[in-house]
């Protein structure tokens, strides 16, 4: 058994973060984060799909003919996504309705394809599994941060529970409804990237 390579989990959380550094999987990250709960469910589903598709592809990596590898990868990923979709529909139907097409879009989520191409095609199954978990978690960190900020300031709740007390509203506090609109997600991701790169100068882009 291969030794437990901790770096594979740690790096995607910070300096190789799939969203802010590798720029993968932006589409879903922005669209499902208006509330915390769907963001969390989405992050979990993506982690599961990335980890297991990485393992399967890594097992098959020497038998897949290179010319048709994209379609083989797509088929395996979409099988996993169908499973996830059916599970979500069975156990958390409300959330699955809110996520609407974005569960299906995990198939074309660039994180999945990107990690398959970049890692699973050339590494052992166990390492690929760790890499999948790590990248899933890196994605989850950003999603949950966005979900918390947007739900707290946009609707004054977290996970559906009221956080900002009623007395604040009596003093004239207003929810910032721009936060739940799509544009704010883009601007918040921009700010996260800014903060992260300001703290770690090596990540800045040279042009």
């Amino acid at each position: 058994m291969a030794e437990f390579n901790f770096k594979l989990i740690k790096n995607p959380l910070s300096k190789e973060n799939p969203i802010t550094i590798q720029v993968l999987g932006i589409c879903s990250a922005l669209a499902v984060t208006a509330k915390l709960q769907p963001a969390f469910v989405m992050a979990l589903s993506v982690t599961v799909v990335v980890a297991f598709s990485n393992v399967i592809i890594s097992f098959l990596r020497n038998t897949i003919p290179p010319r048709i590898r994209i379609i083989v990868q797509l088929v395996i990923v979409s099988l996993l996504v169908i499973l996830v979709d059916q599970v979500l529909k069975a156990f958390v139907y409300d959330v699955s309705k809110q996520l609407s097409v974005f569960v299906g879009l995990i198939i074309t989520n660039c994180i999945v394809m990107g990690r398959l191409e970049a890692f699973a095609m050339s590494n052992k199954p166990f390492d690929s599994f760790l890499d999948g978990i790590g990248n899933g978690l890196g994605y989850a960190v950003i999603l949950i941060t966005l979900g918390v900020v947007r739900e707290l300031f946009g609707s004054g709740t977290l996970w559906g529970y009221q956080i900002i007390p009623e007395s604040f509203y009596n003093f004239g506090y207003q929810n910032n409804s721009l936060m739940i609109m799509p544009p704010m997600a883009l601007i918040l991701v921009g700010i996260i990237i800014w903060v992260q790169r300001a703290r770690n100068k090596e990540l800045c882009e040279k042009e």
Binding site: C27, I107, P183, M184, V189, I193, C204, E207
Partner: protein
């Protein structure tokens, strides 16, 4: 006819693929460095959307939906294959992209030189699969409406990517704080463009 035009305009401005649903962000961010290449990718997206979305609509209506198989035999009225839609849609998209690539290569080398490199990228562009899934979710009435929706979404995407590419070309001469350079500022500008597009909310023909 009016309904089709309404859907067309709505999917360009109000339900814009990028500004309202963030679909196809990955290639949007990666390819929007110059206007010329982004134009190429945009046209390729419109092209592929126009082919795959109506095709998927037909497949959905005559094969996958609950009761869609009635045309074979009335016994199949209760069969619901819609859980297969993800895998069928993505297979159709991947196959069509491959076919379009081969077709364009044979018939128009000039167009192939412009679109060729982008076509394989498109198979995994979320805007394409997203459009098919939205088509399924929104339950359009006939194929005309679906085509209007596909064309509108494609043009909306083209508009967005060409717009951001033009801004990024100008941006090269401005002084952006170093940590914000490249990706960060692109996100914030896209956010501002999305706010501008929000002013189209509630448009009705």
């Amino acid at each position: 006819m009016q309904e089709i035009i309404n859907i067309f305009v709505k999917s360009i401005f109000v339900d814009n693929m990028i500004f309202a649903f963030f679909l196809g962000m990955c290639s949007y961010l990666a390819v929007s460095k110059t206007v010329k290449t982004s134009m190429g990718l945009g046209i390729a997206v419109v092209f592929v959307l126009l082919i795959t979305v109506p095709l998927n609509y037909i497949i959905d209506n005559y094969l996958l939906k609950e009761g869609a198989l009635v045309w074979i035999s009335p016994k199949f009225a209760t069969i619901d294959l819609s859980y297969l839609s993800f895998i069928i849609f993505i297979a159709v998209i991947a196959a069509m992209v491959q076919l379009v690539e081969m077709f364009v290569e044979k018939t128009s080398p000039v167009l192939y030189a412009q679109l060729g490199i982008f076509l394989p990228l498109i198979a995994v562009n979320c805007a394409i699969l997203g459009a098919s899934l939205f088509m399924q979710e929104r339950q359009y009435n006939n194929i005309g409406e679906v085509t209007g929706f596909a064309l509108g979404s494609g043009i909306g995407w083209l508009l967005a990517i060409v717009g951001i590419a033009a801004i990024r070309e100008k941006l090269r001469y401005s002084q952006v704080p170093a940590p914000l350079k490249g990706l960060g500022i692109t996100f914030i500008i896209t956010g501002l463009m999305a706010i501008a597009f929000m002013s189209f909310l509630g448009i009705k023909l």
